[in-house]
Amino acid sequence: MKVRLRMFAVLRERSGVSEMEIELVDGATVAAAMEEVGRRFGAIAELLPRAVAAVNLCYAKAGDSLHDGDELALIPPVSGG
């Protein structure tokens, strides 16, 4: 299945990617997707443990399953305001 990956702030800068499509096995979890991102982008592997994920604009848990067409965003610690 295909998932739209989005990265922001320090993750976007260090990976050089703000948006891309990634191929994952059907039913892959958020955790599995984040491991895959860490393997592809070594520059951000050390940052991922402090990041969380959002799926389709809502925060998601590591064990949540992804579905084809989902938007998966990797969210470093927010600092708005």
Partner: protein, 147 residues
Amino acid sequence: MEQKDDVIGLQSTPLDVNAAVSDAGGSDSGAIALFLGITRRDSAAGREVISLDYEAYEEMATAQMRRLAEEARRRWPISRIVMLHRIGRVDVGQPSVLIVVSTPHRAEAFEACRFLIDRIKAEATIWKKEIWSDRSSTWVEGHGRWP
């Protein structure tokens, strides 16, 4: 439900306090509470922050702000909400976030305004990068309490 006359969003232009207060006013309101977050001067090792660069996951941040407005409306009797956050470059001393809540009485205006700014700062997908006088930059890590 979010009301159609709430004003919620991200913007790259300066925040207009007067416009926000007049958007929030109305004859059913007895109280308006407003919060303005301002980028603070910061310094370390002989260099100074000259501006901040705000980045947002805009679709999600906007959705979050709308959900927070709905939650506030379920908790308090609110007339109107204005909730605006800057993106892009914000100079030191300039406001980066503006919350206005109008209600019949003052206690709920303060509570709802405080609730909204606390939750936005903790949860909204917005990040800031400090731009230093020596042209270096640092991403600020907040103390979010994500779900």
